[in-house]
């Protein structure tokens, strides 16, 4: 059992948990994820590790309540336990050449990009962060991101905070100002990651994105998280979750994420 020792509501449907998981905390690296189950009859759901504290033996999870399972998870309180938590899974993110990096987080994707920015900052990289959300209310980790950035930007689609527009606007501006980074790490909704990839492709800036594919076991066994990268089939759980954005087949990912959309509406209703 994995006890919840801290809970924050970052935005109306956005929750943060700090969970006791000493074995996972001990080995976690930026880019890795966990798979958890909220209750006996629940699904196994993958969530990126948003932070970890090896001394305290805790990991931080941030998630958006998008369906039944994440709503059940969000309903847990401090002192409650998550019955099953497996990790750390996936490969830690590998970084391309160069010391100038832009870390971009969109929506709930800010959570997984935070440990990347933090680690890179600690290693002496010149870190620029851009975080974006639809509206100010949905922004989170602003202070945390700023603390690990040499330069930090915020964007909202509606202009309620920071730059009005998209994370790509800021990236474009940086490039126009001659601050072209050596590489970019972008995590967020697929349209955002894809927009970043299209922009950086023009300037030949290496770009890494992190996927949140459908999966069951998370150990390479089911193959449900298949993704095509550079024409080759990879498994998100063991080969990823980070991949070269310029090689990735985004269309396929969009399609595969839709697979159970209709069915999921039936969960949690009358049965």
């Amino acid at each position: 059992m994995f006890k919840i020792i801290e809970k924050q509501e970052l935005a109306p449907t956005l929750k943060l948990f700090r969970v006791e998981a000493p074995m996972i905390a001990r080995r976690a690296q930026p880019g890795q994820f966990v798979i958890l189950r909220v209750h006996e009859q629940g699904e196994r759901i993958p969530l990126t590790i948003a932070d970890f504290d090896r001394e305290q033996g805790t990991i931080t999870l941030v998630f958006q309540e998008v369906g039944h399972s994440t709503q059940l998870l969000g309903a847990l309180a401090v002192g409650d336990s998550i019955p099953d938590l497996l990790g750390p899974l996936g490969e830690p993110t590998e970084h391309p050449e160069g010391k100038n990096v832009v870390c971009i987080g969109g929506g709930v994707g800010v959570a997984p990009v935070y440990p990347e920015a933090k680690a890179l900052h600690e290693q002496g990289y010149n870190v620029t962060t851009i975080i974006g959300a639809r509206t100010a209310e949905l922004l989170f980790f602003e202070a945390e991101m700023a603390a690990v950035s040499n330069q930090a930007f915020v964007t909202t689609d509606d202009g309620s905070k920071g730059h009005k527009g998209f994370v790509t606007d800021v990236l474009q501006k940086l490039i126009d100002e001659g601050k072209k980074p050596d590489f970019v790490i972008a995590v967020g909704p697929i349209p955002m990651m894809r927009a970043v990839a299209e922009l950086t492709r023009k300037y030949e800036i290496k770009t890494i994105v992190s996927l949140n594919s459908m999966m069951v076991d998370g150990t390479g066994m089911c193959g449900g998280c298949r993704v095509t990268v550079g024409g080759e089939v990879k498994f998100t759980c063991v080969d990823g979750p980070a991949f070269d954005a310029h090689e990735l087949d985004f269309d396929e990912q969009v399609r595969r994420l839709e697979m159970y959309k209709e069915m999921e509406k039936k969960v949690g209703g009358e049965c």
């Binding site: 990790g87 066994m221 089911c222 193959g223």
Partner: protein, 470 residues
């Protein structure tokens, strides 16, 4: 005892095909007492029983059968448990026709004794009737870690705990049992039976740590240097699904058999939405492959509500690797067999969902390296199956996680851990391996056989190591 000449095995009573396709209940009911005794009396009680040699774990088969004939079912169960910690499982899923029953003397002129059915009878009798208390052995021996809680791991754990070792099994899933839980369907192996065997091991003192993926959560090296385990057994199985590498294989609606079966068995997708894991079944399903896993997937699809299920296999009936009983059960249930048929492309609709499987007809040519005649495509014979789900069941490789994260652990070019078949010893002292991770996908009983061998070797290794230390 004089054996009566009954030429055929006593038939196994089973759920009628038209009923069972609508449920996940076990298909064969098992022998009743009278039938079990009558079948037991077919055994000749040979002086030099070949069946024992045919059994990977060396069960004293004539002895347990004699006890059934004598109505001493408890003794029959005890004899089984002496060599086999999972008799109720093996009585159901072992390929007896290739092992003990294949060499049975009665089988030369008539049908062999139904050893598997008798094993199941004795094990089920014990579960239903016995009130024998489990007597745990005092655990004072060294600590041994077991990676994976499938048949190999459970066997190693059972053997060593009986000798007083402190055994901890590490399992990545939230439930122990490995392939017995996620792979073999409820209608062939009820999960309650697997659970019963696991509970028995727990009562003996085996500790099971769930949600630990060795290689990620903790490494083998850490188990040995920091956690005080003096030996490690790796029984992590064949957990890497093979795909066909044909166009369209990532379309929505294409599953590996592993995923299809795990969603259904472990995550109970057949009870969706009460159980929350979904599965897409569709109306017409093609299962590629013809092994036991393919039969399981096909029969599962039918029970999940598919209207039409096709087995697609590139060789002929003779080469189908599945057990005859499984093929027969599938046929009775209405699974279609499309033999000498090879998929070449998965076709999809404009939304990226499967809507067809393009195949080519094959003919058999010269024998290949496997000794089987190589299937060769017939030019111009392409055709399309209109299906909305494709399940790929063409085998699995060893999961690469442990070899990748354990330096010094030697593997073959296929990624299997190299282990001495006589002892299970790997290239790292104190680390043993067995089951599918060593041999590639095989059977439950072979994995158990490997587990037995490794347990003996581990016992020997730790005994001599600790004697030296004293």
């Amino acid at each position: 005892m004089m054996a009566k000449i009954v030429p055929k095995k006593h038939p196994m009573p089973a759920q009628p095909a038209e009923e069972r396709v609508k449920n996940f209940d076990e298909v064969p009911y098992g022998y009743d007492e009278d039938t079990a005794i009558a079948e037991a009396l077919r055994c000749l009680q040979c002086k030099n029983p070949r069946c024992i040699e045919g059994c990977p774990v060396g069960i004293n088969i004539p002895a347990f059968i004699l006890k059934i004939a004598e109505k001493d079912y408890q003794s029959a169960a005890d004899i089984l448990k002496d060599k086999n910690s999972l008799p109720a499982v093996c009585g159901r899923v072992c390929p007896q026709e290739e092992q003990c029953e294949q060499v049975c003397i009665v089988g030369i002129k008539n049908e062999p004794v139904a050893i598997g059915r008798l094993e199941r009878f004795a094990a089920d009798w014990e579960a239903a009737n016995s009130n024998k208390e489990v007597e745990p052995v005092p655990l004072t021996g060294p600590k041994v870690a077991v990676v994976g809680s499938g048949p190999a791991g459970l066997t190693v754990a059972g053997e060593l705990v009986r000798k007083g070792y402190r055994v901890t099994i590490f399992e990545a899933f939230h439930q122990p049992g490995g392939v017995l839980m996620y792979g073999i369907p409820e209608f062939r192996l009820p999960k309650a039976i697997v659970q019963r065997e696991i509970d028995y091991l727990k009562k003996l003192g085996v500790e099971i740590q769930l949600n630990v993926v060795v290689g990620r959560t903790v490494t083998i090296e850490e188990l040995m240097t920091e956690e005080g385990y003096e030996a490690v057994f790796v029984g992590s199985g064949a957990g890497l699904p093979y795909f066909l590498n044909i166009p369209g294989e990532n379309l929505n609606g294409v599953y590996s058999a592993n995923e299809f079966l795990t969603r259904t068995n472990l995550m109970r997708a057949y009870m969706f939405p009460k159980w929350e894991t979904p599965i897409h079944v569709g109306k017409r399903v093609a299962v590629v492959g013809a092994g036991n896993v393919a039969m399981d997937a096909a029969r599962t699809a039918l029970r999940l509500g598919a209207e039409e299920v096709h087995i697609v296999y590139r060789r002929s009936e003779k080469e189908m690797p599945a057990r005859i009983e499984e093929i027969e059960h599938a046929r009775e249930e209405g699974i279609n067999f499309n033999l000498l048929t090879n998929p070449i492309e998965v076709l999809g609709d404009e939304k990226g969902w499967v809507n067809g499987l393009k195949c080519v007809k094959m003919e058999l040519g010269e024998p290949d390296q496997s000794g089987r005649r190589r299937p060769v495509p017939i030019a111009g014979s392409e055709f399309v199956f209109p299906v909305d789900v494709v399940v790929v069941a063409i085998g699995q490789g060893p999961n690469p996680l442990i070899p990748r994260t354990t330096s010094g652990l030697e593997t073959s070019k296929w990624g299997n851990i190299i282990a001495d078949p006589e002892t299970g010893r790997t290239s790292i002292p104190g680390v043993y391996a067995g089951g599918d991770v060593v041999t590639g996908a095989a059977t439950v009983i072979k994995a158990m056989g490997a587990g037995k061998v490794a347990a003996q070797a581990i016992d020997k290794y730790l005994t001599s190591k600790n004697e030296e230390a004293n």
